[in-house]
Amino acid sequence: MTSEQQTIVKNGLWKNNVALVQLLGLCPLLAVTSTFINGLGLGIATLITLVLSNTFVSIIRHWTRPEVRIPIFVLIIASIVTAIELAMNAWFYELFLVLGIFIPLIVTNCSILARAEAFAARNNVLDSALDGFMMGMGFILVLITLGGMRELLGQGTLFADAHLMFGSAAEGMELTLSDDYPGFLLAILPPGAFIGLGFLIAIKNAVDRYQSKKVVRVAAPVKPAESPA
């Protein structure tokens, strides 16, 4: 893996994370993360869309005129999302019912258009596909963390309704905290999503700050004390 590709990986998963840093695609992020499985389902759909749209946009990047690039990107993204929606309708019908309008709404997810415009339109196919995959993975990670957090707090379970995704074999996957957990409804309601995402962003920033401090300490261990200006 070249160093450029390593940067792409790092950007997608952490440094330039779609949800935590770019704050794109918040509408589905906030709306469907009431459970872990819902988050995972929407995350995978978004991931596939990102990989495919980045690949196609990158393939045709030499023929797209800048004046009409946005409609072309949107057309590509819309076709991919429609295909995914039909596929989910066919094979994951119950999950499709739960996620509902948010599957077609992936079209309007800004992160996909943003990656097409900012990355795929000016990089080669392999890098673009990798970028789409890593951005999608970063998005999924946030979706399932937030979903798991809200599900655990809100109804005291984890991996509820796993059979929607993994078939009837996954019926027993559901973990329950305790039988008389009263359920913290706020976590499942919209405010819970906003507050939860706020905390995730805060944690990410805290980790970044902690690491940058460490780097400075390692790089410049001895520094003469400066007199205050």
Binding site: P182, G183, F184, L185, L186, A187, L189, I195
Partner: protein, 349 residues
Amino acid sequence: MLFRKASAPFINAQANVHSIMYQVLYALIPGTLAAIYFFGWGVLINLVIAASICLLSEALVLKLRARPVSTSLKDGSALITACLLALALPPLVPWWLTVIASIFAIVIAKQLYGGLGFNLFNPAMVGYIVVMISFPREMTFWTAPLGAVDSWLSFGDTFSIIFHGVLADQSSIDSVTMATPMDTLKTQIGLENDIESTRNHEVYGALFSNISGTGWQWINILFLLSGLWMIKQKVIDWRIPVSFLLSLLLISNFFAVSDYASYPSAVFHLFSGGTMLCAFFIATDPISACTTPKGRWIYGAGIGVLVYTIRNWGGYPDGIAFAVVLMNMAVPLLDYYTQPRIYGKNEVE
């Protein structure tokens, strides 16, 4: 000969955050004592839990934010939040519910917004709303007030309910809880029983007094009196309570006159639930309320209309918390459009 020169004002009030907050705290005492008298040990236990958690979380966040801890703790604002919360929560709520409400009030609604002076919303009301929408069942754990029953629930039973969820003899909590007068009226009107028959009902009748509800009327009257004292002391501005009570009076009177069988009288509205507590202690919060005179009139009137709307047509028996927080959101806009004219400037630009 030297004369010490001083410029006007020659007499100045020694007002600071500390003294104002403590006067508010003193003013809360009579009403709180009345609430304890009528609802028993539960209120006291809630107060202790809320106060310790509020102070503790305030100290913790201040330390995290590297701010001076002791001066901010001593200003009494966290204690006021705790006191308002304990008065708003039902007396028999589980201990963890009070803890969650206190933490949300102090950490999220107050400190995350920047601490005292920067919070957009009234912290106590945010804490109350969080538990109200999250735990609707636990928020009905009211006891019948003294007067409707003969004696307090024993300390052992109250303690056991709050910390273990059952009475000391393991029997269910349902045997000692009772709906509040406002809740009862709402349910009965929903069942198409008129107010008169509810007031004279063999079971619920004991909950109602001549003015409003047994116990509730005295709690409200005491808050009204100490509120008037605060206005005299210039701790709070008179416009917000007056406009709030006036708008609630007018709108409830309008509906009560049009259909007295299914709309409670204006007096009932003014002296039930948290009306007086809201008028003088919650809506007048100097941080989250309007600061311009005209804005304060609109702010108070808005709360009155919203409270009445939620009480009559909303899903909750009382709507103080929602009304106050909704109007808190409108405060920046109201303040912006109601700036008083500066002397010497034209009215129309």
